[in-house]
Amino acid sequence: MIQAILVFNNHGKPRLVRFYQRFPEEIQQQIVRETFHLVLKRDDNICNFLEGGSLIGGSDYKLIYRHYATLYFVFCVDSSESELGILDLIQVFVETLDKCFENVCELDLIFHMDKCNCWVIDEASRRKKREAQRHQQVHYILQEVVMGGMVLETNMNEIVAQIEAQNRLEKSEGGLSAAPARAVSAVKNINLPEIPRNINIGDLNIKVPNLSQFV
């Protein structure tokens, strides 16, 4: 069974994290960090299997990874999966992403959600929406490849066809349910004479919005 699928970039920023076994959030963070440090130490010309991640599983579990330009794809599996088979599966997954997003080299950008500030509803915000949608797309694709920790489909054309069919269906529905407009008008009428513009408490920095932007 596949225990977890982690994708992070060369700097250890997680791009896709999918656990098929429940771990508390903190442990998930630690696993990603630990895995990154384990994988980072390794040259590209040594083998793609790694034991000894202390947080997931134990001796029965292996990390199987592939490194593509800027991204690491790490699968954590137990002994019921074939090691070499998983390597091929990673290849299939990446090639599918490549097909869906034209160029896999941009994957890092696709995942790059936190680059822009979404506060201002303008071009940047729209871009953010688009990126969020793409991020979901990656998840949907993964959902068609691996389900509940088990390999579902390995035929690339089939996966792409299903994803496209679902996207068409989504399009025909015309997007999500409309937002209640009254809430917007409610906010428009807020008059906030003095709210601190910046609150710094410990390591948490809160920016209070300038609501006039919405009006």
């Binding site: 903190e26 998930q28 949907y140 390995t154 349910s177 409610a186 919005p209």
Partner: protein
């Protein structure tokens, strides 16, 4: 500007969002539970934020009195304060700025309820991930996280309940990422999933299946298994493959539902679609692994093996099909899965193995191996061949494939080859042995994964013939490897050395080498083990102590080594100074130099407390071994009488007392240590093994039961008894399984029934009724210890009281006539067993007495059995025997104790 501490989230000063609500007296202090004294606010400063107040009171200007600013979040399951704040928070937008680990601002995003829900929904699921991905918890705001997740989870549920596919898609994705079975909220989904499983759109059904297969709890699985089973029979392959995996999840959660899916599995393998085939094989594998009944059913009734063989054959023979081709091989994933299932089916089953032999050979020879996929299949084939009961030719083929893998350029292939060789090394030892040199080469690989595997495999390959060569490599490896390997490698070397050491000297050298190179990584028991090994090899003492002396000269960093060295110098210091080493060029050391070393160990700040203890004791021991440095030793010992280390101080004070008060006993107390027995020896059985010459090779390396043992007190008697060639190592405590051990020994002698023999009739001229291994073993040797003169000695009843009867039978040794061997037999005529039975005996000073261990500590009731115990009495002056005996036992729940004197020994027993 804010209060001192937020009660809800325990932030040191004030958490950002509570500080905002403190502004409003009344409403918030009730709802959120903010402390009253924190109500310094905008109001106090005289400028109340009108709009915000209105919003917080639920009456935003635009909505009119009483209206809610947003459509209302479903708040069930959220703690009341949280719900309140959720409601109140609603219309207010704000920014959360989270810092990532490196301190840069990682993301700025909006948590806006009711403001722009469209935007929110789109980002909803991704937010869940995104919040997890950043180091959010480092901010310390757990409260915010739980609040945020609760909100998101409920939003997901709402989305799932929507009619639109778009909503459902995000909702289910969010639910999978954010919910799990520990939160009761997930049960709210059950009904939605049930409806969606019967939806008219296949994609909605697919989503529901996927969610159920990912996060379904056992309750959910029970409720929905029927729907899954129905979908497993549909003609739609998209749903069928998902249903199969969903069924696997259901079986994992609720194994008893397995039966339910059995009928549906019948037609799964006739499917053309590879996706369905693949997942069906996964389902069948899961069923076979979970239940032996299913396994038998699939083998016998369903004829699964021929079906799988047919599919596999089609895959190999079909030629190029663009749909399933992966670098020139037709659907390798399916092939791998099928091979795995075949492995499970063929394990321990001759018929199934027979049926798949041919196809395995075909796969093994026909698969093209220039690419990774080909190797993946080949690797699975090899594993399957190894696991099932395959023909010997096929096994050789498999091992050779692995051998080829070892030479492959691809590191991954080498890695899997080592892994699988490690699995097969137990069964096909010789075949793997042929690849030894390649495996040893892998120790020098740069890759830690390969190194580790190679190390494990190397240890598995060590045997009596190659030990010297292999150890050289492994010691070299130990020298150069990463710290994380050292502990494992060191203990591996210890084990292998103990098992296969060609000579004592080699063994000691090896362990010393390990201690010098990786001393700080060895396990704690390495030191006592080495000490025991050294004491047992008497002829090596001088050599060892000299080597150790040289090893620690000027280097005290390796604590275990220093400890062993200190012990040995203390014990064999006289040999070191006299310079009588035969194995090596002797070195000239004076007594003072030796003491210098030990003293510098004592004062060195690298030494641990334990090491100092070893050194001090060593110095003390030298006081009897050295002649002209006693005063110096006295001085050292008295100095440490005031050490701040309590352990050391106590030792020093005791030793000081030894010098002053008990000087007459000092030399006896500090005598050379007797040979130590290994703690783990398992009593007589091991003696049987070593003496029975079943394993001649390891005889030397085990703690030898034979051999001269000069100072053991118990042996003095035996020395008199039979000279040096007697084997006196006897566990003197009651053995754990005395009767069975005795039985085994007797089996060696020929089937003489011993344990059940009634106590009454002493059998003259028969083999003495004793259970002690040494005598029986002596009996094995050519020289019998006892002769027929025993025949004429009548037995006596030494004790009979309270139902306990003890009889003495006598034999005389014919090698040493002054030794009488008395066998006691205790029997119990009461209706209850006597437990914890201990027999003790004392004789006048002119005699010497040795009491061997009893056959048991329980005297069974109703005379159904006896305890036998052997006493040896040395009576050099042939005086009349007298004996005082003491009996302790538990009977009927109370402890009994009795003393008695035995005076009625027959004259033949001592004259």
């Amino acid at each position: 500007m804010f209060g001192s501490c937020c009660r809800c989230c325990r932030r040191p000063r004030s958490c950002w969002f509570h500080s905002r609500f403190r502004a409003v007296p009344g409403v918030l202090s009730q709802a959120v539970g903010v402390e009253k004294r924190g109500q310094r606010s905008w109001a106090r400063r005289g400028r109340e934020p009108q709009g915000l107040l209105r919003l917080l009171e639920g009456r935003p200007r635009g909505l009119g009195p009483g209206g809610s600013a947003h459509s209302g979040v479903a708040c069930c399951g959220v703690a009341p304060p949280l719900r309140a704040s959720l409601n109140l928070l609603g219309p207010v937008d704000f920014l959360i700025t989270c810092k990532s680990q490196d301190g840069s601002v990682d993301c700025v995003s909006r948590l806006g309820l009711g403001f722009d829900e469209t935007c929110l929904y789109i980002t909803l699921a991704s937010w869940g991930l995104w919040v997890k991905n950043i180091a959010f918890l480092d901010c310390g705001s757990k409260f915010l996280i739980s609040f945020f997740f609760s909100f998101l989870q409920l939003e997901c549920l709402k989305l799932i309940a929507s009619q639109k596919f778009t909503d459902k898609r995000i909702g289910y994705l969010g639910a999978m990422l954010l919910l799990d079975e520990r939160q009761d909220v997930h049960l709210l989904m059950t009904n939605c999933i049930k409806n969606d499983l019967n939806h008219s759109t296949q994609f909605v059904q697919g989503l529901a299946l996927c969610t159920l297969g990912c996060m379904g709890s056992s309750e959910m699985c029970r409720d929905l298994a029927g729907e899954v089973e129905k979908l497993l029979k549909t003609s739609n392959s998209y749903l069928r493959k998902k249903a199969a995996l969903c069924a696997v999840h259901v079986i994992r959660k609720v194994p008893e539902l397995m039966e339910m899916f059995l009928p549906a599995t019948k037609n799964l393998l006739n499917e053309k679609n590879h996706g369905v085939l693949h997942t069906s094989v996964v389902l069948l594998t899961e069923m076979c692994e979970r239940s032996p009944d299913m396994l038998a059913h699939f083998r016998k009734n369903e004829k699964l093996v021929p079906q799988l063989v047919r599919i596999l054959k089609n895959l190999i023979m079909s030629g190029y099909s663009p749909e399933h081709d992966v670098s020139g091989i037709s659907d390798p994933f399916l092939q791998v899965r099928i091979l795995r299932l075949l492995r499970i089916l063929g394990r321990n089953d001759d018929d199934s193995s027979e049926a798949m032999n041919d196809i395995l050979a075909q796969v093994a020879t026909n698969t093209e191996t220039s690419k990774n996929v080909g190797n993946a299949i080949l690797y699975e084939t090899v594993l399957t061949i190894m696991d099932i009961k395959s023909e010997s030719g096929l096994r050789v083929l498999a091992i050779n494939i692995l051998g080829r893998f070892l030479l492959n350029n691809d590191k991954n292939i080498r890695y899997v080859a080592l892994t699988s060789l490690l699995k097969t090394v137990q069964t096909d030892h010789n075949a793997v042995q042929r690849h030894r040199s390649t495996i040893v080469d892998c120790l020098k690989d740069l890759d830690v994964s390969i190194k580790r595997r190679a190390m494990e495999l190397s240890f598995a390959l060590v045997n009596g013939n190659n030990i010297r060569g292999m150890m050289k490599e492994l010691l070299y490896f130990l020298d150069s490897c990463e710290p994380e390997f050292k502990a494992d490698c060191a203990s591996g070397i210890f084990l292998a050395a103990e098992k296969y050491a060609p000579s004592k000297r080699w063994h000691i050298d090896t362990i010393m080498r390990v201690l010098t190179t990786a001393g700080s990584y060895v396990r704690d028991d390495a030191v006592p083990n080495l000490i025991q090994l050294i004491t047992n090899s008497v002829e090596m003492h001088a050599y060892t102590v000299q080597r150790l002396y040289k090893a620690i000269l000027g280097d005290y960093s390796q604590q275990p080594l220093v400890q062993v060295a200190a012990w040995c110098i203390g014990e064999y210091g006289d040999l070191l100074v006299s310079g009588q080493c035969e194995e090596e060029e002797p070195i000239q050391v004076t007594e003072d130099e030796v003491l210098d070393i030990l003293e510098s160990v004592l004062i060195s700040n690298m030494s641990t407390s334990v090491t100092r203890g070893y050194a001090l004791t060593a110095i003390m021991k030298l006081s009897t071994r050295f002649t002209c440095t006693v005063n110096r030793i006295k001085k050292v010992v008295s100095i440490y009488g005031s050490s701040i280390d309590v352990e050391l101080q106590q030792r020093a004070v005791e030793y000081n007392a030894l010098f002053k008060k008990y000087d007459h006993m000092r030399s006896a107390l500090l005598e050379r240590m007797p040979v130590m027995e290994k703690v783990t020896t398992n009593g007589p059985t091991e003696i049987v093994q070593t003496n029975g010459e079943t394993e001649p090779a390891p005889l030397e390396t085990k703690p030898p039961p034979a051999g001269p043992q000069p100072t053991s007190q118990a042996n003095d008697l035996l020395d008199l008894l039979g000279g040096n060639d007697i084997t006196p190592v006897i566990p003197t405590a009651p053995t754990s399984k005395p009767s069975s051990a005795g039985g085994e020994l007797l089996d060696l002698l020929g089937d003489i029934n011993l344990t059940g023999a009634p106590a009454a009739a002493p059998a003259p001229a028969s083999v003495p009724q004793i259970s002690q291994p040494p005598f029986l073993l002596d009996g094995l040797s050519s020289q019998p210890l006892f002769n027929d003169i025993a025949a004429g000695i009548p037995s006596i009843t030494a004790y009979s009281k309270n139902g306990l009867k003890i009889e003495f039978t006598f034999e005389r040794s014919n090698t040493n006539p002054s030794v009488t061997v008395i066998t006691i037999q205790a029997s119990n005529s009461t209706e209850l067993d006597m437990t914890d039975f201990v027999f003790q005996a004392a004789v006048p000073k002119t005699f010497q007495l040795q009491l061997l261990s009893p056959s048991s500590s329980i005297v069974p009731a109703f005379n159904t059995g006896t305890i036998t115990q052997v006493i040896k009495v040395l009576n050099p002056q042939k005086q009349q025997l007298r004996m005082r005996i003491k009996l302790t036992y538990n009977h009927k729940g109370s402890a009994m104790q009795d003393l008695a004197e035995v005076n009625n020994f027959p004259p033949q027993s001592w004259q």
